[in-house]
């Protein structure tokens, strides 16, 4: 889903079912002979569809990144010829690309840290507020989680509009601040900060709700025991709550890294479909190379590099999912 998630659905994260280990899913005993073919028959349609819709494009992505493929190849005027590692060396040797990678990493790191810290703080806060307020906050959280990314982006564009945006109007109410007409997107860092806020606003609900569920699993006895042993609130949190929540936190962090590295529609739509150079992140850059500059091969090479960069994170995520899901 990341897949899903990087683009729009990115925002609607799959409800990672963290099923309590109720039933060990271990297949029992050996099935008789008729069991051998059955699972493959059941899997066949799924694998077939995936091979077609996913396998082929993936292979094409790899082959494409080793070819010369531009406008004339697209229309079939010229055959696509192999160029070895040319695309990669061109991309990797490009200063702009390195700037894009750095920007993406900083952006993703910032988003992930803010999301996780805010999410954790909110989850802890939710435990301490009165019931009615908890319900109200939960409704707002789920509603903002459910907002289509495109809609959320559009709304933020309006909030931060330079002339009529309410954010500038509110800031100007502070004594000595005159922000009306301030264009947040005139500079890369400021604009990306707004986009980061949007990403965090959209990502926090999932984190809060998942962590809240996790917090109910923290044994009360452990917390009391720690308190009796003289631990303060911070000590209880640091040495009891945090270790119990660790697997959930690891899963949420890796998922957030994957999603925030793959941020696309937020940047793309915020900048009206043509992100300026100082707004380019890996995904928009790959898109830009392919569909704006019409160098499809270079775009593919960038996409492939992005996938490879994410692979390590994905591995951590998968280990965690396999553990939580008790797949073995």
């Amino acid at each position: 889903m990341s897949a899903a998630d990087t683009t729009t659905p990115a925002k609607v994260p799959p409800p990672r079912p963290a099923p309590p280990p109720v039933v060990p899913d271990r297949p029992r005993g050996k099935r008789t002979a008729n069991g051998a073919a059955a699972p493959w028959l059941l899997l066949a349609p799924c694998l077939l569809v995936l091979a077609l819709v996913m396998g082929y494009p993936l292979v094409r992505l790899v082959t494409l990144s080793f070819q010369k493929f531009g406008q004339s190849q697209l229309w079939g005027f010229q055959p696509a010829e192999s160029v070895g590692f040319d695309n990669f060396s061109k991309v990797l040797g490009d200063g702009e690309f390195r700037a894009v990678v750095l920007r993406t990493v900083v952006f993703a790191a910032g988003s992930v840290i803010f999301t996780m810290v805010a999410g954790m703080a909110l989850a802890l806060l939710l435990q301490r507020v009165s019931g009615w307020l908890r319900t109200l906050i939960n409704i707002v959280l789920v509603a903002s989680w459910g907002m289509p990314v495109i809609v959320a982006t559009t709304v933020f564009k309006w909030l931060f509009d330079s002339d009529y945006g309410v954010f500038n109007a509110l800031l100007s109410k502070l004594p000595g601040v005159e922000m009306i007409g301030h264009n947040w997107f005139a500079s890369g860092p400021q604009g990306l900060a707004v986009i980061m806020l949007l990403v965090v606003w959209g990502a926090v609900p999932f984190v809060v709700i998942t962590l809240s569920a996790g917090l109910t699993q923290v044994p009360k006895e452990l917390q009391e025991a720690a308190r009796l042993d003289g631990a303060g609130s911070w000590g209880v949190f640091r040495y009891v709550t945090l270790p119990v929540l660790r697997p959930v936190i690891v899963m949420l962090t890796t998922l957030s890294v994957i999603w925030d590295m793959g941020v696309f529609p937020q940047v793309f739509v915020m900048r009206g479909g043509h992100p300026e150079a100082e707004f380019q992140v890996l995904n928009t850059y790959s898109y830009d190379r392919a569909f704006v500059v019409n160098d499809y091969a270079q775009g593919a090479a960038i996409a492939l590099i992005t996938v490879l960069l994410l692979l390590g994170v994905v591995a951590v995520y998968m280990r965690q999912m396999l553990k939580i899901g008790e797949v073995e």
Binding site: A4, T7, T8, P27, C46, P57, L58, A143, V269, M318
Partner: protein
């Protein structure tokens, strides 16, 4: 429990509540402002010193939003694509989910890792080869092309989520049915499917939302006259500027049904995941 809490505890709770209220206001503000702008007269929307409270209710922005570009065409296309994807995804996905959660077979773990891994491939990375592929197949600007593409993220998601639901259905129930004379298929149909129904509904709705919300492929693979609902929202920005009040009306029309669906499913997802069929 609360009776044991000394009354001195009320004070800290007041502090937390004030903080919570602040969070509520800040987190909910974008939603509030969308609705507020959508319903206020357009001239009040472009006020450099906007009133934070509603200034009057009008539907003019909604009428304008419907005028700017055809709305029901895109909605119809989004519905067609999302429903088709979900139906295919759920049928194919249920079979696969059963296979990986109820059968022991060689290669099972590889399949599971594969399905998880496929979920992690960023959609944006796939857009270039998908675009070239559909171009070659003559499926560019066709809804079928979009349906095929959406399966790449809906199908793995469906399989994985349904697997979670199936794993939580106690195997003992099936085994009991088989002891009572059901065939294996019979046990699936009579025991597993009824228990899986809430999970199936929740997964379908969730998948539907994802397909409905997808933006990039819809933008790239369909021409302007075949745009879907998410792309439709882009019509409010032209080179003459952005019509914000109608745009927020459009955003409201897009968001409200989806958010309502989402609110409903959230509960069902939780219920489906925790409901146990065997009473303790």
């Amino acid at each position: 429990m609360s009776a044991l809490v000394p009354s001195g505890r009320r004070r800290p709770r007041l502090g937390w509540n004030i903080l919570g209220l602040l969070v509520f206001v800040v987190a909910g503000f974008p939603l509030y402002w969308m609705l507020d702008t959508a319903f206020k007269p357009a001239k009040d929307a472009i006020d450099p010193d906007p009133s934070l409270l509603p200034t009057g209710i009008t539907l003019a922005n909604f009428r304008r939003a419907l005028d700017i570009a055809d709305f029901w065409g895109p909605v119809g296309r989004s519905l067609t694509v999302s429903l088709t994807v979900v139906v295919i995804g759920v049928v194919v996905g249920t079979l696969a989910a059963l296979a990986i959660s109820r059968f022991a077979f060689r290669g099972r773990k590889i399949v599971i890792v594969g399905i998880l891994a496929v979920q992690m491939v960023p959609l944006v990375a796939m857009i270039i080869p998908v675009f070239l592929l559909l171009n070659d197949l003559g499926q560019y600007d066709r809804l079928t092309g979009l349906v095929i593409t959406y399966l790449t993220f809906i199908l793995p998601f469906t399989v994985w989520t349904l697997r979670g639901f199936i794993v939580n259905i106690p195997r003992e129930l099936e085994e009991a049915a088989m002891v009572d004379g059901c065939s294996r298929t019979g046990a699936f149909l009579r025991v597993v499917f009824p228990l899986l129904a809430p999970g199936l509904v929740a997964t379908s709705v969730y998948g539907f939302i994802q397909a409905w919300n997808e933006y990039l492929y819809a933008l790239m693979l369909l021409s302007q006259e075949h745009q879907t609902a998410t792309v439709w929202l882009g019509n409010f920005t032209t080179k003459h500027g952005t019509e914000y009040a109608p745009m927020m009306a459009g955003a409201t029309m897009m968001a409200v049904p989806i958010v309502v669906l989402f609110l409903l499913v959230q509960r069902k997802m939780a219920a489906g995941l925790t409901a146990g069929a065997v009473k303790g």
